[in-house]
């Protein structure tokens, strides 16, 4: 039994990627047009902020976290982060934040290279955050509010929630409702409640089809991996609440279901199935994808990609259901819930081992720090590995240590198989 890596080309590409590229291109040019011409107001929104409300009000919606991920995946983040550090933002805080602020200070954006004609990120008319993910987003948007002189509005969400109670939902729903008046004033139009219902319904359907996409990986061999998911989640993040996202995922889902029918796996010769808990290392997506493929190991599921599944959206009760959807998010929840959620995912996806990415600058997405891997192994028998790294700051990533750990983990799992 050898774990010597096999051919690094043992991955299968997804044909729908080209279509996704076209959709994302249209999205960014539309945003740029809104900002440059002033024909539509631009709102910046955190990734699980009230995007449905903003779309229903007619804003062009931009997600700085997506920009942070682009800075990471294009490996520009590590040289931009020090710019924000020098401005007083610690290297220990969110490296999406520091990379993005660093990029603004240097007036750089990967959008310019990817989409010729776009010179800068779209200037916002309003910044809208939800602290359900972390407090850093509030400080991040606060910086831009001061820098650009635009209002920052937000929702303060509770943390470490075990049960999403009526009281919590009511509180957040009221905060979302309170955003309506100031946002109406900025956009110069009244909220059309039917349009909000329609947007919430589209988000619900996007969430469902995205879940279907991810759940194709329950099959063995898995037709897509976590690394594919981090790329193909683009429309679920940026175009939630639009028909374009639904249309795209219908195409992707059909391709993946065909793979399942044909017995085609994303990783050739799949022999192990892993779960990825935590953020991706954006600047190492390709390397990690190839590394696991060469080990004939499919990373079949993740908390991260599954975080854009919102079963609570309900067009009959848009404000409360938005509140519930935003609160049910894994990152908002307490350890007992997280343990139950992960145990369920490991079982449903028939996982052999779980990787916890301990991201230096993202404690909220580093769930190895309070004994969860040990408790999970005790309750499920699924072994775990902790990889130290970061989402965007490659100064915190050791490629050799990652490789040794991953290979040794695969060796261990094969020994015990």
């Amino acid at each position: 039994m050898s774990t010597s890596p096999t051919s690094p080309t043992a991955r299968k590409t997804i044909q729908a990627t080209e279509l996704m590229g076209r959709i994302m291109r249209e999205y960014f040019y539309d945003l740029n047009d809104a900002a440059v011409t002033g024909r539509r107001k631009v709102a910046w929104c955190t990734s699980v902020g009230p995007a449905e409300l903003l779309r229903a009000l007619g804003f062009a919606v931009y997600f700085p976290e997506n920009h942070g991920a682009m800075l990471g995946s294009t490996r520009q983040s590590t040289e931009l982060i020090p710019e924000a550090n020098a401005a007083g933002y610690s290297p220990d805080i969110c490296s999406y934040l520091t990379a993005d602020i660093g990029a603004w200070l240097k007036q750089r954006t990967p959008l310019s290279k990817a989409y010729p004609g776009i010179e800068r990120v779209p200037r916002p008319d309003v910044l809208v955050y939800n602290t359900n993910q972390c407090r850093d987003v509030q400080d991040w948007f606060g910086w831009y509010a001061r820098e650009l002189g635009v209002p920052a509005l937000g929702i303060s969400s509770p943390k470490n929630v075990n049960d999403v109670t009526e009281g919590l939902v009511e509180d957040v729903a009221r905060q979302i409702e309170a955003l309506v008046a100031p946002l109406e004033a900025i956009v110069g139009a009244r909220l059309d409640i039917d349009r909000l219902r329609e947007t919430v319904a589209l988000s619900r359907r996007c969430s469902e089809i995205w879940r279907d996409v991810l759940e194709t990986a329950m099959h063995s061999p898995a037709p897509l991996t976590f690394f594919d998911g981090t790329i193909h989640m683009g429309p679920a993040v940026c175009l939630r609440g639009t028909q374009q996202a639904l249309d795209y995922y219908a195409v992707l889902l059909a391709e993946l279901r065909q793979r399942v029918a044909d017995g085609v796996g994303a990783v050739q010769g799949e022999r192990l199935r892993l779960y990825w808990e935590g953020m991706p290392v954006w600047g190492r997506l390709r390397q990690h994808s190839e590394m696991f493929a060469a080990l004939r190991t499919a990373v079949v599921a993740s908390t991260y990609c599954s975080s854009w599944i919102f079963p609570a959206f309900d067009d009959a009760d848009p404000f409360r259901s938005m509140a519930q959807a935003y609160l049910e998010l894994f990152i908002v929840r307490a350890e007992p819930y997280k343990e139950r959620y992960l145990a369920d995912m490991l079982q449903r996806f028939k996982v052999d081992g779980i990787i916890f990415h301990d991201a230096k600058t993202c404690p909220y997405n580093s769930n190895n720090r309070y004994g969860l891997p040990q408790r999970l192994q005790a309750s499920t028998g699924v072994p775990s590995l902790v990889l130290s790294g970061d989402l965007n700051d490659l100064r915190c990533v050791s490629d050799e240590q990652t490789k040794i750990n991953a290979e040794a983990f695969v060796e261990q799992l094969l020994e015990c198989a």
Binding site: S2, C396, Q401, I404, A408, F409, E411, Q412, E415, C416
Partner: protein
């Protein structure tokens, strides 16, 4: 090491199995025979060209075994430079796997292996059946590794080789508070300025190394220590035993356990190949 006592080679060697451990600090090579007996070994500073160092080690080990490269039936490489020895093998295993294999070969029981290397530390748990149960590596930081002791020896203006004897003659132990190698160096300088005895500082450095390792994982079952740092500083094992309040077992040659594991994997692979190549039983 059970096989380490009499490395003298017979005149006509049978098939040999080669393990190469190309570590960040030192390259170790072991040759064993089909029975697992040691036939040759060598260790050198890895330097900047793993392949050149590995060739030199291999030549030395073959000479010790009175054998030639044609006698090598199979080889496995491990360590940071494991991909740099294609001239002899492309078969690789992680050092974690090799340490577990070598450690269990020497101590065939449920064990926790503490390996302290030049740039990283590992705690590896092996079950009574020899299968790995888990492993932990130090994070990116060099605290608690051989590199930490090298830096501190430099600050104390003593050679690395003298640390063990110095620690053993300590009359007290000066504990350092910091995780960080650079901050620890500052603490060392503060203690020098305060006129504290070097042996007492060195014992504190050893304590720091052990604490960094012990905080990586809990230890179960029998404890075995391996790696170049304990090979040259066996007092570390003695101190560890005192801290964990149970015996710590040291192989005769702690530095070679990874290379031994690689050689055993090579032997296993060759045995599997022989079995696969063997003609089917024709019966009557």
């Amino acid at each position: 090491m059970t096989h380490a006592a009499s490395p003298a080679a017979p005149a006509a060697p049978a098939a040999l199995y080669l393990g190469l451990d190309l570590g960040s600090s030192r390259t170790k090579v072991v040759l064993i025979d089909a029975a697992g007996g040691l036939r040759g070994q060598a260790v050198r500073k890895s330097g900047i060209d793993f392949a050149v160092t590995a060739r030199a080690c291999l030549a030395q080990a073959l000479e010790m075994a009175s054998a030639g490269s044609g006698d090598i039936a199979a080889a496995v490489a491990t360590g940071y430079g494991r991909s740099n020895v294609a001239f002899v093998t492309e078969e690789t295993k992680t050092e974690i796997g090799c340490l577990a294999r070598g450690g269990y070969h020497l101590f065939p029981q449920a064990i926790s292996i503490i390996d302290i290397g030049g740039q990283d530390n590992k705690v590896i748990k092996v079950g009574a059946d020899g299968r790995r149960q888990s492993f932990k590596m130090n994070r990116k930081c060099a605290a608690g590794t051989g590199a930490f002791l090298e830096e501190m020896a430099s600050r104390l203006d003593v050679s690395l080789e003298t640390l063990n004897a110095l620690a053993a003659e300590a009359t007290e132990m000066i504990k350092l508070g910091s995780y960080c190698t650079v901050f620890s160096a500052t603490e060392v300088l503060e203690n020098i300025r305060a006129g504290r005895r070097v042996p007492d500082i060195v014992k504190g450095l050893f304590y720091s190394v052990i604490k960094r390792v012990l905080e990586m994982d809990s230890l179960t079952d029998g404890v075995v220590m391996t790696g170049g740092v304990v090979a040259h500083n066996p007092y570390l094992a003695e101190m560890t035993a005192g801290l964990i309040e149970r015996p710590v077992r040291l192989p005769a040659q702690p530095q070679f356990v990874g290379a031994l594991g690689a050689a055993l994997f090579a032997r296993d692979a060759a045995a599997g190949q022989v079995a696969a190549d063997a003609p089917p039983d024709q019966g009557d």
